[in-house]
Structures are given as structure tokens and as C-alpha cells.
């Protein structure tokens, strides 16, 4: 079955993972900018990372027939240092016209601090000024509910932001409804222990329908599974979901959202 992996941190994965994803039917992979597992020491580290995302990684994906796209930002885990964040945000516009850049992301909150919130507002401003799509990371575990509420407040307050051009990622049962009610897209992440399992993702689809929802693996340098999306498609089949419904959530929905960038296409 063909599918789109709309959220994967491929710089942290092996070439074998690209091959396995291609064999499983992946046609395009999208990579939001995120935390490397350690704090970068200067803006130059981000410059190199953005070059990696826009030059090197598309070439690595192309070897397996996969289209590679990315999102650019300073992630919320490094947003406590506002001065560094300002320097990184100043750097981003020079990359926005590159052919695989879809928008600003994954911006958001991590510990819901004042500085994180300030940097979030700065990056929403950046997206609005340059007419970019927005991909939002919501916090982990006990911080998710509060973080999602704060993020929605920021986005709803800025009238330049069209909700249908925003995806709020890593929703779970306690946050999905408020995101969909705000008119935004919601991403469900299949991640061991800390986010959703395939069974729970399908429960959410059965409860809320298939509109403005997508699935992703968010595979990265931690324990995660780059094949989580096709494995969930198999689970949907076991639960009697029609092929057209499966195709909608693993391919058509991400394609519909991402095509708003004007750049996205599948391989």
C-alpha cells in the first residue's frame, strides 16, 4: 500500500530504514526540524542542520525513490535561550524558498515556559509574515494538555493564521477534540510508551472520523519505529476498515494538507 510518512526525523535513522520504508510503500517523507538530543552551541549548528535537511537528506532519500521534504524552525527544547532563538529565526528566511521546505515546524512548547511561549509567538509571526504552513509539536505526558491549550490560544489570537494551514501534532484522546474544534489538522503519533499505539489511533479515528487527521511515526534517535504507519494500516484492515478509509488517513489526508505548501508531491 502507498503511504506518506508526514513526520520522521530521518537524519537520526539509518539508510536501511529508508529502504524498509520504500519497500513498505512509502512515497514521501517529511522531516520537521527538531532537537538533536543535545543543545547546539551556536546558530552555526542550526545553519548546518538546515543545510542537511534541504540538501543532503533529499539526496539520501532519492536513492530509494523517496521524495524528502522538511520543515524549519528552532524546536521548543532549545527555546529557553531567547537570544539564540532570535538568531536562528533570523537565519530561516534564506532557506524558505528551497524546493523541499514545506513550512515552519515543529514549533510549539515543551515545558510550557514563558520563554518557550515567547519563541513560539516569534515563529508564528515568521510563518504569518512569509505565508508558510505551520506544524506544531505539543508537549509530552503531563505537559501536553496545558501546552496544547496555550498553543491554541496563540494561534487563534493571530487572525492572519488560517486554521486549515496548521497541523497540531502528537494529539491524544484528551487533546484531539479541542484541535479539531479549532478547525486545525491533528496528527497522531505512533510512539512506544509516550504517545499513541496503533489500537488507540484507530479508536480515535472511529470516534472522531477521518477528516483533518493523519498518522506519523515521528521516528527519531529514540526508541521508535519508522514502519509504524504501515503497521497501523494493517491493524485498521484487521478491524474491518475499508481500503478507501485506510488510504485516506495514510495518504490522501497528508497529501491534501501538505499540497497547500505549493511544493509537496509524492514519488
Amino acid at each position: 500500500m502507498k503511504y506518506i510518512e508526514p513526520h520522521a526525523h530521518m537524519v537520526s535513522r539509518t539508510t536501511d530504514d529508508y529502504e524498509r520504508m520504500a519497500l513498505a510503500g512509502c512515497t514521501a517523507v517529511c522531516e520537521p526540524a527538531f532537537w538533536a538530543g543535545f543543545d547546539r552551541s551556536s546558530v552555526d549548528g542550526f545553519h548546518d542542520y538546515f543545510c542537511q535537511l534541504t540538501e543532503h537528506e533529499p539526496r539520501r532519500a532519492a536513492k530509494f525513490g523517496l521524495k524528502h521534504f522538511c520543515w524549519l524552525c528552532i524546536n521548543s527544547k532549545e527555546a529557553e535561550d531567547v537570544k539564540l532563538a532570535e538568531e536562528v529565526i533570523t537565519l530561516i528566511p534564506q532557506f524558505l524558498n528551497r524546493p523541499n521546505v514545506l513550512g515552519i515546524g515543529e514549533i510549539g512548547l515543551n515545558k510550557n515556559s514563558r520563554n518557550e511561549l515567547r519563541v513560539l509567538e516569534m515563529q508564528v509571526e515568521l510563518a504569518a509574515k512569509h505565508g508558510q504552513l505551520i506544524l506544531v509539536h505539543t508537549p509530552h505526558l503531563e505537559d501536553k494538555l496545558k501546552g496544547t491549550r496555550l498553543i491554541l490560544d496563540v494561534l487563534k489570537h493571530d487572525k492572519r493564521i488560517k486554521p486549515e494551514r496548521v497541523i497540531i501534532d502528537h494529539v491524544e484522546e484528551h487533546t484531539v477534540e479541542m484541535v479539531l474544534e479549532a478547525g486545525m489538522w491533528a496528527g497522531m503519533t505512533l510512539y512506544p510508551e509516550t504517545k499513541c499505539t496503533p489500537a488507540r489511533v484507530i479508536d480515535i479515528l472511529e470516534a472522531y472520523g477521518h477528516e483533518r487527521l493523519w498518522l506519523n511515526s515521528a521516528c527519531d534517535w529514540g526508541v521508535s519505529d519508522p514502519l509504524a504507519v504501515p503497521k497501523t494500516a494493517v491493524e485498521m484492515k484487521k478491524r474491518g476498515h475499508l481500503p478507501s478509509a485506510i488510504e485516506q488517513v495514510i495518504f490522501s489526508n497528508p497529501e491534501k494538507f501538505l499540497k497547500q505548501s505549493g511544493k509537496f508531491k509524492t514519488g
Binding site: K111, L117, R149, R239
Partner: protein, 86 residues
């Protein structure tokens, strides 16, 4: 899916997870020392599982969540504990 189909597909998995949960409680209860905030919230969340409410997964997640809206002064860590400490 019918109830029977759900049970056929997920009962053994749920049974396995319930036993793991019970074993975790046995393990932590026979260990020396005091409970912390995580276990207290855990027990509150458990109570909800036997209710007749329809959104048990959501309610468990809410039990572990920070219900406040005021941003914290500073992020002093990057990780999350899994339960909100009042």
C-alpha cells in the same frame, strides 16, 4: 466491530497488560521507601477504570495532566515525569 470481535482481537493483549499492571503495583508496594506523587496520581487514575464512563483513556490522561494555564517561569528540565506534581 462487534463486542465479540473486539474481545477476540484485544482480550489477550488487555489481560496481559492488566497482569503487568498488577505486578507493577505488587513490586512497588513491597519495595522499601515512600510513595511519590506519580504513584498517588496512578492510583487516582486506576479508580476511573471501574466507572461506567465512556472515555476512560481520556480520563486517565487527564488525571496525569497539569490542569493549570499559567506558563512556568523557566524550563529547568527538558523531560517529563509522566504525572503532574501539584
Amino acid at each position: 466491530m462487534t463486542k465479540q470481535q473486539v474481545l477476540d482481537l484485544y482480550f489477550l493483549d488487555a489481560r496481559h497488560k492488566l497482569i503487568e499492571l498488577a505486578a507493577f503495583l505488587d513490586r512497588v508496594e513491597r519495595a522499601d521507601g515512600k510513595d511519590d506523587f506519580r504513584l498517588k496520581v496512578f492510583r487516582v487514575a486506576l479508580e476511573g477504570l471501574t466507572s461506567n464512563k465512556k472515555q476512560k483513556a481520556r480520563d486517565v490522561l487527564l488525571a496525569f495532566s497539569d490542569p493549570t494555564m499559567e506558563p512556568v517561569a523557566k524550563a529547568t528540565t527538558k523531560g517529563a515525569a509522566g504525572a503532574f506534581q501539584k
